[in-house]
Subunit: 476 residues, 2 copies
């Protein structure tokens, strides 16, 4: 794979997508979908055209006289999914007399600036940037304040997870006049340039497996060599295809590379969704899924085929816990929808996140970060050149101490925490670490299986939000 | 005139241009001109092209070990002119061990993104925005820090006047990781939408004339009616052309409208450059030029022709103090160069500054702010539609209290002070008012004729800058 970081972002995405289908029945039903015509290009005047941005409103607990607005800064996917997977906002709405708004990110879901031509070429994709998305949010909030009775003077808090968390933090940094503060959950705002070592992400994934079962990470580490050896013959390719119950049998070295990338993605996905309770995804996962996975990976010294049979069992926990899948599809998560394409494009322009592995500090095949190759691949795909230093230039990199009212929450188990803010920067740029948390566990709905640390995190988050709101009310 | 605010911006511009020619011999010689290849479009990836941005460097007082950088955020004109007319920076360079940088604003001077095609149509003009200019500044500073020995850890202070002052303030708001603070001199950041009454600007102009001579403003107020009456006959048109020594005789009602606009512009220009000492402009002006002008305007009750002869004498102070001009050209300041065209375009897109007069609180013919007509005129000229609420949306309007380290200095005599910040907002968003000051007097070089108030203002400004620098050093 020439594009390692895309792979990771895929993971993030494919995971999001798998959840989407399963949970979209829940909360979005309680939220009303609306659309607003915003400018396609906020930063230029030649293209004076608008597009329909979708947003969801839930005002069951909204109080006109004394209410607040919790605004989800939508990320790379259909907004109904984020609406359904951010139970935290629903859980605190009453306490904060809050109206919930979930704003869809341009170029995702139904918010396509040029309809089905939006992804047709680099000209149509030109307005898919974080800066345009933040401007969308600012203008949308202004519109809501002007049209919803009582909203004009209501304090707005930005909330987001993952890329949405980055957007929430950046939104407060760039538009502090629009939001009184931001909760940026699992937001890897430092996963750029050399702000953090490129190996951190995969090291954390590896540590999750180390902690979840004896010799678990060693088994995975050894599996790559086993795959390489077994796949070196035609007979071995056949055997592998069968052992992994693959829908399309492996036929070439390239197919084997895809298999390995798909397995890596699986381990990464598991690290992100390593939640402490049974979670109802497309394929439901057990509580602490990595522990379940690791039960199959206790013996790294087994002969190749035996080891790989165990690796299949382990991967099967993620892909086929319910037992319903008749075969596994290694290309499944990498192609299916616009949301994924959008993130690929963003990774090839602004969101350049250097990633690397060394097989020593992590359980993956060594792979250096190669910007040149990455850039060439991006140009082939999209006819654009990534600008790796832009995000730090525009959002400040590590020099963000003059901003205020941002909570950076991170799960200790979440590989993205490596690029996140995990220490307080100032009194009002605070970090909350949830040791037992995976990817933005705190944004999920309250669950009897929640560890104490996430309950404390959520309580602290609410406390901060109340302080921002109170301070705002005091001033107005 | 359908475009009142453009008129004013012209004034600002024509004044700038007139100074440019006279003073460009001074300081620019001591500054080295350089160019940097920056992105034409920071906010999109389809147009992956760079342009040469000019900047001037003066490092006579720069100290590698302990220096600071004073960065002029160039506005709508040739940067050498701003370099020459910001003597304040030269005066304080030694005290702050400072390197001076004067960055040219894109689309002005020699920094034309598409060479002589830059102004050819709305497609080529698409990248002329304040946001792109701020990003230019951020990237340029990054480049300088990476290439000038000792600069990497040097604190940078943004300084600008007028539109450049707005840019300095906005630069600190949007890129606080790049500059430790900003001196925004005579920056009318609130001259947008309904943030201030549309009549404030002309009321201040009028007050300057009221204060400078008995019946002075009444004389000007009465002059409009006199012009209307006299110009109603062909003989009167001839008389007027001769009385005003016009290069092109008046032939139509339209010409008379231009004459009146040109006179209004003259009074506005005088209000902006009403400096307390003789200043060496293209046409040199005496100290307190409005007082000199008002000596001709003591009797508003004179018969029309006598009044208008006095008005000519008064205008002649501005246009022909040296006595060298053989005739006066009413179209002189409104056409000549790209700088002016650039500001027209900016006023027709982002920089929509509502202006109005009523002939009661001011000495001008009543004219309401008519956005619709303005917008139509803009579309005719540039094929663009102005977005009057965008500046407040993106830069916060009056809600800027969460920012820090900005000094807003304003001259009490400066009509632009009406749209400026003239009261402290917080401890670190401070306002300095210079009662005897016209348009950014504080940025001009020290002069024996300086009133005490501007000396105090400059001292306070340096004190703030030193605090920002010290605090930055303390942290690093």
């Amino acid at each position: 794979m020439v594009l390692p970081p895309l792979l990771l972002c895929c993971c993030l995405q494919s995971w999001a997508l798998s959840q989407q289908l399963a949970l979209s029945v829940h909360l979005a039903l309680k939220a009303a979908a609306q659309k607003y015509g915003g400018m396609i290009d906020h930063f230029g005047f030649d293209q004076d055209v608008t597009f329909q941005q979708r947003y969801l409103v839930a005002d069951q607990h909204w109080r006109k006289d004394n209410g607040s607005i919790l605004f989800y800064t939508g990320n790379e996917g259909d907004i109904t999914w984020f609406c359904n997977n951010t139970g935290f906002m629903w859980d605190v709405a009453e306490e904060l007399n809050a109206m919930l708004i979930f704003a869809e990110h341009r170029y995702y879901g139904e918010s396509l600036p040029f309809g089905n031509k939006s992804y047709s070429d680099s000209k149509h994709l030109n307005y898919l940037t974080s800066e345009q998305a933040l401007a969308d949010f600012a203008i949308l909030i202004q519109h809501l304040k002007e049209t919803i009775p009582g909203a004009l003077s209501a304090p707005v808090v930005a909330i987001g997870g993952s890329y949405g968390g980055m957007l929430a933090a950046w939104f407060r940094m760039k538009y502090p006049h629009v939001v009184v503060g931001a909760l940026a959950a699992s937001a890897p705002i430092w996963q750029f340039e050399d702000l953090v070592p490129c190996g951190t992400f995969y090291t954390i994934v590896t540590n999750d497996f180390k902690k979840s079962g004896q010799c678990c990470s060693e088994s995975i580490l050894n599996s790559w060599g086993a795959i390489n050896r077994v796949s070196s013959t035609d007979e071995g390719l056949k055997w592998l295809s069968s052992a992994f119950h693959l829908c399309s049998p492996l036929k070439s070295k390239q197919d084997v590379a895809v298999l390995k990338a798909w397995l890596s993605e699986t381990w990464v996905n598991l690290a992100m969704v390593n939640y402490p309770y049974k979670a109802d995804f497309l394929q439901p996962l057990p509580a602490w899924p990595i522990q379940v996975v690791c039960k199959f990976l206790k013996n790294p010294k087994l002969p190749d085929k035996l080891l790989l049979q165990n690796v299949f069992q382990a991967a099967n926990v993620y892909y086929n816990y319910s037992g319903a899948a008749s075969c596994l599809n290694t290309s499944q998560s990498a192609t299916r929808n616009l949301g994924l394409m959008g993130w690929y494009y963003q990774a090839c322009t602004e969101m350049v996140m250097p990633m690397c592995t060394d097989g020593v500090n992590d359980m993956f095949e060594p792979r250096k970060w190669n910007f040149h190759a990455f850039s060439e691949e991006c140009f082939k795909l999209w006819k654009v050149k990534p600008r790796p230093s832009w995000i730090a230039s525009v959002y400040g990199g590590k020099n963000i101490s003059s901003h205020s009212n941002i909570i950076f929450s991170n799960g200790g188990l979440d590989p993205w925490s490596g690029g996140g803010v995990t220490r307080n920067i100032t009194d009002s740029l605070t970090a909350i670490v949830i040791p037992e948390g995976a990817h933005h566990l705190d944004l999920r709905a309250s669950n009897p299986g929640d560890p104490k640390s996430v309950l404390q995190a959520r309580a602290l988050e609410v406390q901060h939000m109340k302080q921002w709101i109170e301070k705002y009310r005091h001033k107005h």
